[in-house]
C-alpha cells in the first residue's frame, strides 16, 4: 500500500523486540515518577496502568497517547491517521471558541421499535458524551464563516439514522439560508440498520437537500475519512463540489467482506483506499490531517 510517510520527528524503524522497549520506557517513566511527590506520583503511575499507551495498528509501535493526541491523532512514527472523535476534529478545524452547535435537540428515533436499540443509544451517550453520530454547527475556519458537520465513528459506527439525516439536512439548509460554504467530514459504516427504511430515506433526504444547495450556487466540500461506506458514500459523501480524503481511508459503497464473498476472491491490497479512489477519479485530493485546515481555507477563499 503506497501510504505516504511523513514524520514531524525522527524516523524510526519499528523495533523487532517491542516489549523490551516498552518496558524500558515504562521503567524510565516510573523512575521519573518516583522522584515526584506522592499525589502526582499516584496519578502518573495509574495513568500508565489504565492504558495511556496505544499500539499503532499500522507500524506496531507503542505510543504514549498524549503524544499521539498532540500530533493530531496521527502516528508520530508512521503517519497513520487514527480515527478521530467529532470533538477532537472540531477542535482541529474550527477556530477556537467559534463553533456553535445546531440541531443538538434532534435525537435518536426508534421507528421499528427495535429491541434494545434505545437502551444501547443511552449507554453510548453516556460512554461517548455525544448524543448522536454527527455534530453540526457554524464556525470560523481561519476567520472564514462556514457550516461544519462532523460525523463521529464512536457512535454506532457513525451510522446514519433519522437523527443523523435530520441534522445533516438542517446543516445543509442552514448553509443555504446563511449563504455559507458547507463542509462535511464523513465517517460512517453506512445507513443505520436499527431504523430500517427510515434510515434508507435519509439518503434521499440529504441528497435532495444538496440538490437545493447546488441550485443556490454555494460551495460544498466533502471530506472522507476512515471509514466512509454504505449509505453515506451513496449519498452526501459523494456529492461534494470538491471531495477531499485523508490518506489511506477506506471508502466504498459495499464493504470489503461483502465484495470478497460476491467475487469469491481476496481483494488486492489498497482496494477502496483513498489513493485507489484518487486514481479512479472519485476524489479531488488527498490531504494529510496537518494540512487539512489550511487546504479548506484555501478552497473557501478561492470561492469568495
Amino acid at each position: 500500500m503506497g501510504t505516504v510517510l511523513f514524520f514531524p520527528r525522527e524516523k524510526r524503524e519499528p523495533s523487532p523486540n517491542l516489549p523490551n522497549e516498552v518496558e524500558k520506557l515504562i521503567i524510565d517513566k516510573v523512575k521519573k515518577v518516583n522522584k515526584q511527590e506522592k499525589s502526582v506520583k499516584n496519578e502518573k503511575a495509574s495513568d500508565m496502568l489504565i492504558g495511556k499507551w496505544i499500539k499503532c495498528d499500522n507500524c506496531k509501535e507503542i505510543l504514549y497517547k498524549e503524544d499521539v493526541h498532540k500530533n493530531l491523532s496521527v502516528c508520530p512514527n508512521c503517519g497513520k491517521h487514527f480515527r478521530l472523535s467529532a470533538r477532537r476534529r472540531i477542535k482541529q478545524i474550527a477556530d477556537e471558541g467559534t463553533f456553535e452547535e445546531i440541531g443538538k435537540d434532534i435525537l435518536t428515533k426508534d421507528p421499528l421499535k427495535f429491541e434494545g436499540y434505545l437502551k444501547k443509544v443511552e449507554s453510548l451517550k453516556e460512554k461517548t458524551k455525544i448524543e448522536e453520530a454527527v455534530k453540526c454547527g457554524t464556525c470560523k475556519i481561519n476567520g472564514e464563516d462556514v457550516v461544519l458537520a462532523v460525523m463521529d465513528g464512536n457512535f454506532l459506527m457513525g451510522s446514519m439514522g433519522s437523527a443523523v439525516g435530520e441534522r445533516i439536512t438542517l446543516a445543509i439548509e442552514t448553509s443555504i439560508l446563511k449563504r455559507l460554504p458547507l463542509i462535511i467530514f464523513c465517517v460512517s459504516g453506512g445507513a443505520r440498520m436499527q431504523e430500517g427504511i427510515v434510515s434508507l430515506m435519509q439518503m434521499a433526504k440529504t441528497s435532495a437537500a444538496l440538490a437545493k444547495h447546488n441550485q443556490s450556487g454555494l460551495l460544498y466540500i466533502s471530506v472522507l475519512t476512515d471509514p466512509t461506506t454504505g449509505g453515506v458514500t451513496a449519498s452526501f459523501a459523494s456529492l461534494g463540489d470538491i471531495i477531499l480524503a485523508e490518506p489511506n481511508a477506506l471508502i466504498g459503497f459495499a464493504g470489503p467482506r461483502v465484495i470478497e464473498q460476491t467475487m469469491k476472491q481476496k481483494l488486492p491490497e489498497g482496494f477502496q483506499r483513498s489513493e485507489f479512489l484518487l486514481e479512479h477519479g472519485f476524489i479531488d485530493k488527498i490531504v494529510e490531517r496537518k494540512d487539512m485546515k489550511d487546504v479548506l481555507t484555501q478552497i473557501i477563499r478561492l470561492h469568495k
Binding site: 428515533k109 421507528p111 421499528l112 427495535f114 429491541e115 439514522g161 433519522s162 439525516g165 435530520e166 439536512t169 445507513a191 440498520m193 436499527q194 431504523e195 430500517g196 427504511i197 427510515v198 434510515s199 434508507l200 430515506m201 435519509q202 439518503m203 434521499a204 433526504k205 441528497s207 435532495a208 437537500a209 444538496l210 440538490a211 437545493k212 447546488n214 441550485q215 454504505g230 449509505g231 458514500t233 451513496a234 449519498s235 452526501f236 459523501a237 459523494s238 456529492l239 466504498g252 459503497f253 459495499a254 464493504g255 461483502v258 465484495i259 460476491t262 467475487m263 481483494l267 482496494f271 477502496q272 479512479h280 477519479g281 472519485f282
Partner: protein, 264 residues
C-alpha cells in the same frame, strides 16, 4: 390477501414467475422502444429503459430487470445494477426532462451489485448522483416497487412524486438475510428479521413512506396479471394528471417536502 406474514410476502416478491419490469412496461404502455447504454462505459442489462406511449402521451420508462428463468436471470445479474445501469437510468431521465416526458420507474432489485468493478466505477457516486438529480427533475416521476426494493440500489431510481408498492412487494434498507446477519449475527433468522423490519407495503403506507398500495390477487400478481396492470395503469394516469397541475417549481418543492419530512 390479508393474513400473510412479512416473510410470505418476501417469498412472493422474489418468485421467479412474478411479473418483472418488462412485463409491466409491455402491458401498460404501447410503442415501447428500448434505449441502451450510459454513453460512458457500457449497457447494464439489469436496468432497462426507453420511451413508450401511455395511451396518447409519451413517457420515459425505466425498470430494474430480473430474469424469469435461470439463464436470463444470470444475464440480468439477478437485477443487481452496476454504476453504468444507474447512469443509463439518469441519462434517460435527463432526456425525459428535455422533452417534458413524465417518468415511470419500476423497482425490483436485491440491491446494487457489490462487485469489484462496481466499486472501481463508483457505485456510491452513481446512486448518490441519481438521488440528487431526481429530486431536481422538472417532470413528474412515479416510482413503483413491483417486487424487491432493497437498499440504495432500489432508492437510486425511487426518488419521485408518487411512490407506489404492489401489495406483495417489499421495500427495505437491505434484505432480511443481511439484516439478520448484521443485527442478530445469524442469517438464518431472516424470517424474524422480516417481521421486525416493517418492510411490507402496509407497513410503509402506515409510516407514510409510500402513497399507494396496488392490490394483488391471491398467490401474487402473476395469477391475474391483467387486473394488476389495469389498476396500475389507472393509477399512473391519474397521478400524471394530478401532477401536471403543478408548475415546475411547485413540483420540485413538493417532492422535496415529501422526503424532507421522513424521519423528522
Amino acid at each position: 390477501m390479508a393474513d400473510l406474514s412479512a416473510w410470505d410476502r418476501v417469498t412472493l416478491a422474489r418468485m421467479l414467475e412474478r411479473p418483472k419490469s418488462l412485463d409491466y412496461i409491455n402491458n401498460i404502455f404501447t410503442d415501447f422502444i428500448e434505449l441502451h447504454g450510459d454513453r460512458n462505459f457500457g449497457d447494464d442489462k439489469s436496468i432497462v429503459g426507453g420511451i413508450a406511449k401511455l395511451d396518447d402521451i409519451s413517457v420515459t420508462v425505466i425498470g430494474e430487470q430480473k430474469g424469469k428463468k435461470a439463464k436470463e436471470n444470470m444475464e440480468r445479474n439477478f437485477g443487481m445494477p452496476n454504476p453504468e445501469g444507474y447512469r443509463k437510468a439518469l441519462r434517460l431521465m435527463k432526456q425525459a426532462e428535455k422533452f417534458k416526458r413524465p417518468i415511470i420507474t419500476f423497482i425490483d432489485t436485491p440491491g446494487a451489485y457489490p462487485g469489484m468493478g462496481a466499486e472501481e466505477r463508483g457505485q456510491g457516486e452513481a446512486i448518490a448522483r441519481n438521488m440528487l438529480e431526481m429530486s431536481n427533475l422538472k417532470v413528474p416521476i412515479i416510482c413503483i416497487v413491483i417486487g424487491e426494493g432493497s437498499s440504495g440500489g432500489a432508492l437510486a431510481i425511487a426518488v419521485g412524486d408518487k411512490i407506489v408498492m404492489l401489495e406483495n412487494a417489499v421495500y427495505s434498507i437491505l434484505s432480511p438475510e443481511g439484516f439478520a446477519s448484521i443485527l442478530y449475527k445469524d442469517a438464518s433468522k431472516a424470517k424474524d428479521a422480516a417481521e421486525n423490519m416493517k418492510m411490507t407495503a402496509k407497513d410503509l403506507k402506515n409510516m407514510k413512506i409510500i402513497d399507494k398500495i396496488i392490490d394483488e390477487p391471491d398467490g401474487g400478481a402473476q395469477n391475474d396479471f391483467n387486473q394488476v396492470v389495469k389498476e396500475l395503469k389507472q393509477y399512473i394516469k391519474e397521478s400524471i394528471k394530478e401532477l401536471s397541475k403543478y408548475s415546475e417549481e411547485e413540483l420540485i418543492e413538493n417532492r422535496y417536502q415529501k422526503f424532507r419530512i421522513m424521519g423528522k
